[in-house]
Every structure is written in structure tokens, then in C-alpha cells.
């Protein structure tokens, strides 16, 4: 049952939020030992929240647009008094003294938080295998990864543990796991959703967004969590989007570009599987059948995105993660002096991938290398913004695959960091530019696993993106995706 149906039934008193919750808790109890979508299930707190929602309905008041809807939260979002780990030993046992803005907005809309989901440590990874608490499995095939870094959130929705989930996306960490698990994943415009209480990874790239089974639910969540927040100085000061109201408007007359460099075109990035390219072309055909015109467009700098990202994101991470020093919260490994304690704590608390990125970022920012690497990478961001602006003068939206492949096997890519990083090649440009992008399931690949296609648009083009996503969802449902 969709979030919209649950909310409608709970608000009208047809169903109790506590009953909806128990169904989901039963599914979690039955199979999360195997899937490991959650780091923590907060059954008792969820029961209290659901009971309050029911009391609100009984007293004749409206609990809100997501009344009684079970939601899962990526474990890098602060929840007051509830352990928040980032899947890292360095934060194990820490209970934040405040709620993230998205957490309070969901609660105020009547949603019921059921737990904190697993991720690659500090959201650094593309498979959820970098978690200090063990990997998450893909609910569709337990031998495969769910993608990452928000793999637990994607798996929780795909497995029916929660109706909705929130993730964070720094280089594709919502969209790629959504594609691997066959659900919808949205990265909004940078600044459209408050980052207050989201534990920082790459502050100029990080953005929170929803996972859901359908496009309409995704739109409903973004309407709830979006909008200005004075506690995030990068929050865009504008009214929230009307997204649910535009879902049925279609794409008649829209101009949509296939971004050739990221869709298997010559001179573009290599390694995108032919079945994934075929699904992307089928998506273009479906949009054309619905009245859009399709154009091949080129953004040459998009091929530089991966390199630029793996300089910018680690640089910001090395700075952000300097706060884990054993002084104020989380792990402390005692030593004779504060300096030795800082190093002993960080050495014991961080996993290998986090150390690798801190090292890379520290190097890219260090004297003598700053201009050659970090400075150049920032200029690539400008170049990409210019080239995307030129393209968006001609087309409304762009289409690419979400990821180069379908879900790969657990352990397949852990030996060599670069083979993991290339997963993000199609999703990274939107983080570097701050533009919104959505991944929508569109059929399956040769291995029978879901393929996601990505719709990109300029800043604040969320309504158009959702219009196109709704068209693709409907075409996929009618079998055009098969």
C-alpha cells in the first residue's frame, strides 16, 4: 500500500497507524536479520509515535499528509536521544542532542520513524559494504549489493520494511541504490532540503532526498521535507514546490536531451553496459511517445566529473571529519597527551575507506598540490555549470542511465577503490552543479535485475523532473520497459 493510501486511511479513521506499523515491524522481524537494512529498529518509540497519530485522529485533528506512514532514516541524520552512528565505530553509542530538520518535518507531517538504516561509513561508498556493522544485502537478490551509500534506506523500501525512506546524496548515494533496488530515488536541488542535522561529508555536495516505490510518493515527501530552514545557511529562501499538482501534466512539447557522454556515446565515459544503454533508449522512446521531442546533446566536461569529484569530496571530507577527535562525543582511545589521544581515537575509529579519503583530501589540500588538484577541480565545476547552462538553453531536461551496471555481487569490487568509484560516473555531475536529478526504475537488465534511468534538470526544475518521471513510471507499468 502506498504512503498516500496509508495516510488517507489513517486520516479518515479507516485504519489505525499502530496496525500499519505492526505489519511493517513484523516484516522487519521476519527478514532483516538476513537483509540488514537497519542499524537500529526503534520499535517502542515508533509504537508511541503511531499511538499519538491515532489519538490525534480520534480527537478530530489532522496529523498531517504522511499520517501513520512508516519511514526509515539513513543513520547519518541526527535523531535526538536515539543512536546515530554513520555506520562508524567512531560514533558508536552517540545520541545526538537534537533532531535534524528533516526528522522533525516528517514527524510534524504524521510520519512514523521505524529505524536508522545502514550506510557506507560516513556515506563514503557505492555498495554499503564499507559499514563498520556489516553489509546490507539487496532484497531482490541476496548475493548482490543494494548500492550505496544509502543502501539500507533503498533496501528498507524495496523489502517493504518501511513505506518511505530518506537518504543523502553526495555523488549518487540516493540515485544509484534506488536503481539497484528497483525503487524511485530523488536528489533535489542543492539547498532545496535543509542539511541541518545531516552529518556532513562533502558540504557543497550533500543533499537529502526521498526513496519510495512510486513517483507520487516521492513528490509528497519532497513537499514535506523541502523549503527554507534558517538553521541551514545554504537553504534556498523560497516557497516549497507544488509537485503532486503537476504529476499528471505529462511531457507534451518538452524538449529532452540524451546526454551522449554519459549514455554510451563515442568519446564519452566507458564501461556503461549495453543492456543499461538499451533501457535508457527505451525510456527516451517512451518520453517521445508521450509527446516530448528527443535530442542528442553533448556536455564534454561531464567526462571530467569523476576526477573532479574525487578531489573535491575527499577535500571537504578531510576537513569535516577533523571534528572526530575524541574530545566532545563518540569514541575516545585514551593516551598520555591530547595529541596522541586524537590520533589513537581516529586510527581506531575510522575504517579503511574513510581513512583513504581523509588521506586523499588532506593531500589535495596540502601546500604545493592545492592549485594542481583542488583548485583545478573547482574550475571544472565552473566549466560544467557553463556547459550545462548552454545545454539547458536548448532542452528542458536530460536523460542518462543512473549507473553503468545493475547491482553487482557482494565482494566483487571491494579490492580496488577505482572500480567502486566508477559506479558514480553518471550521478556525480548533478552534485558538482547542485542540480536536481531523479532515478526511476525502467525495466530490467540481461541479468533480470532492475535498471534505473536518470532524469536531470537545471536548478529548481523539480516540477518538470517529476512530470517526466511520472510518464516513465506509467510507461514502465504498461510494459514498455520490458
Amino acid at each position: 500500500m502506498s504512503a498516500l493510501e496509508i495516510a488517507q486511511q489513517v486520516r479518515s479513521g479507516q485504519r489505525q497507524a499502530v496496525d500499519v506499523l505492526e505489519e511493517h515491524l513484523a516484516r522487519i522481524a521476519a527478514s532483516d536479520d538476513e537483509i540488514h537494512a537497519f542499524n537500529l529498529v526503534i520499535a517502542d518509540a515508533a509504537r508511541e509515535t503511531a499511538a499519538r497519530v491515532d489519538e490525534t485522529v480520534a480527537s478530530g485533528e489532522d496529523p498531517g499528509p504522511l499520517a501513520g506512514v512508516p519511514v526509515a532514516l539513513k543513520d547519518n541524520m541526527c535523531t535526538r536521544g536515539i543512536a546515530t552512528t554513520c555506520s562508524s565505530k567512531i560514533l558508536e553509542g552517540w545520541e545526538p542532542p537534537y533532531d535534524a530538520t528533516v526528522v522533525s518535518r516528517l514527524r510534524n507531517a504524521g510520519a512514523v520513524a521505524v529505524g536508522k538504516t545502514n550506510l557506507d561509513e560516513f556515506a563514503m561508498g557505492s555498495s554499503t559494504e564499507n559499514s563498520a556493522f556489516g553489509p546490507t544485502r539487496n532484497p531482490l537478490d541476496h548475493s548482490r549489493v543494494p548500492g550505496g551509500s544509502s543502501g539500507g534506506s533503498a533496501a528498507a523500501v524495496a523489502a517493504g520494511f518501511a513505506t518511505l525512506a530518506l537518504g543523502s546524496d553526495t555523488g549518487g548515494s540516493i540515485r544509484q541504490p534506488a536503481a539497484f533496488c528497483g525503487v524511485v530515488g530523488m536528489k533535489p536541488t542543492y539547498g532545496a532540503v535543509s542539511r541541518y542535522g545531516l552529518i556532513a561529508f562533502g558540504s557543497s555536495l550533500d543533499q537529502i532526498g526521498p526513496f519510495s516505490r512510486t513517483v507520487a510518493e516521492s513528490a509528497a515527501v519532497l513537499e514535506v521535507i523541502g523549503g527554507h530552514d534558517s538553521r541551514d545557511s545554504t537553504s534556498i529562501d523560497r516557497p516549497t514546490f507544488d509537485l503532486q499538482g503537476v504529476l499528471d501534466r505529462g511531457v507534451q512539447g518538452m524538449r529532452i536531451g540524451i546526454l551522449t557522454e554519459l549514455s554510451g556515446g563515442s568519446g564519452g565515459v566507458e564501461g556503461i553496459n549495453s543492456d543499461v544503454i538499451a533501457r535508457t533508449q527505451a525510456a527516451a522512446a517512451a518520453l517521445e511517445a508521450a509527446g516530448a521531442s528527443i535530442h542528442e546533446v553533448s556536455v564534454p566536461s561531464s567526462t571530467l566529473g569523476l576526477s573532479a569529484y574525487y578531489l573535491v569530496a575527499p577535500a571537504e571530507a578531510s576537513s569535516n571529519l577533523s571534528r572526530y577527535d575524541g574530545v566532545r562525543y563518540g569514541l575516545r582511545v585514551d593516551a598520555a597527551t591530547t595529541g596522541e589521544m586524537n590520533a589513537a581515537t581516529r586510527t581506531a575509529g575510522f575504517g579503511a575507506e574513510v581513512k583513504r579519503r581523509i588521506m586523499l583530501g588532506t593531500y589535495a589540500l596540502s601546500a604545493g598540490y592545492y592549485d594542481a588538484f583542488y583548485g583545478k577541480a573547482l574550475k571544472v565545476r565552473t566549466l560544467m555549470l557553463q556547459e550545462f547552462a548552454e545545454v539547458y538553453a536548448d532542452v528542458d531536461l536530460l536523460l542518462t542511465p543512473t549507473a553503468p551496471t545493475t547491482a553487482f555481487a557482494l565482494g566483487e569490487r571491494t579490492a580496488d577503490p577505482m572500480t567502486m568509484y566508477v559506479n558514480d560516473v553518471c550521478t556525480i555531475p548533478s552534485n558538482l552543479t547542485g542540480h536536481p536529478a531523479i532515478s526511476v526504475p525502467f525495466g530490467v537488465g540481461d541479468d533480470g535485475l532492475p535498471v534505473g534511468v536518470q532524469i536531470l534538470g537545471p536548478a529548481l526544475s523539480e516540477p518538470s523532473i517529476y512530470q517526466a518521471a511520472a510518464v516513465l513510471e506509467s510507461a514502465a507499468g504498461e510494459g514498455s520497459a520490458l
Binding site: E95, P97, Y190, S204, T234, I236, T303, L304, L306, S307, A308, Y310, L311, S318, D325, G326, V327, R328, Y329, G330, L331, R332, D334, A335, A336, T337, T338, G339, E340, M341, N342, A343, R346, T347, F350, K355, R356, I358, M359, T362, Y363, S366, A372, G375, K376, A377, L378, K379, R381, T382, L383, D416, P417, M418, Y421, L432, T433, G434, H435, A459
Partner: protein, 100 residues
């Protein structure tokens, strides 16, 4: 193994980042960071002379809020999360130890 970054540079960067690496980790990171920097050679080689850098996707400058008194976090609740606290403050080992 790539020669983009030396073993000594890895040791130096680890010290800057307050990480203590084993010999095996130093060897592993020297190779892996070299591979990643090799991949970044396309960015390094780019001629982007007069392009201005973008450090942030939004054209924001200073952001102000109304100068109103607001409640801050509860000190007891915050200090309860510290590894060690005393007299309303964080407690740490000596900053200048014998090794200094």
C-alpha cells in the same frame, strides 16, 4: 605501482590527518592514492587558466538571520555525550605531555 605519490608523502599526510598507519597500510595507500591521482591526471592537465573556481553551487554571499535570542542546546545533555567531562567542561589528557 604508480609514482604519483611517494611513501614519505603518505607518511607526512597521515601525520597531518592525525592517523597512525601500519607499514602495510602505508604501502597499500601509496599504491591506491597513486592510482586515484593518476585518474585525476585529466583534471590536473586541463587548461582552465581564466575560469573562475566554483566552491559552491549556489550564488550565495552572506546569509543573515534576525538577531533574536534563541534557546541553545542543553549543556548537561551535550556534555552527557562527551567521553569525559568535569565542572561543565570537556576533560582531555594533558595537551603538553612528556613527549613534547
Amino acid at each position: 605501482m604508480s609514482e604519483r605519490i611517494t611513501r614519505d608523502e603518505v607518511v607526512h599526510v597521515a601525520r597531518l590527518a592525525r592517523l597512525t598507519l601500519t607499514d602495510a597500510e602505508i604501502d597499500e595507500f601509496t599504491g591506491q592514492l597513486g592510482d586515484i591521482l593518476e585518474h585525476a591526471a585529466d583534471v590536473e592537465a586541463l587548461d582552465v587558466g581564466d575560469i573562475a573556481p566554483t566552491s559552491h553551487p549556489l550564488p550565495l554571499t552572506n546569509v543573515f538571520r534576525a538577531d533574536e535570542r534563541r534557546e541553545s542546546l542543553d549543556r548537561e545533555e551535550v556534555l552527557a555525550q562527551a567521553p569525559a567531562a568535569e565542572n561543565g567542561q570537556y576533560r582531555v589528557p594533558p595537551v603538553l605531555g612528556e613527549s613534547q
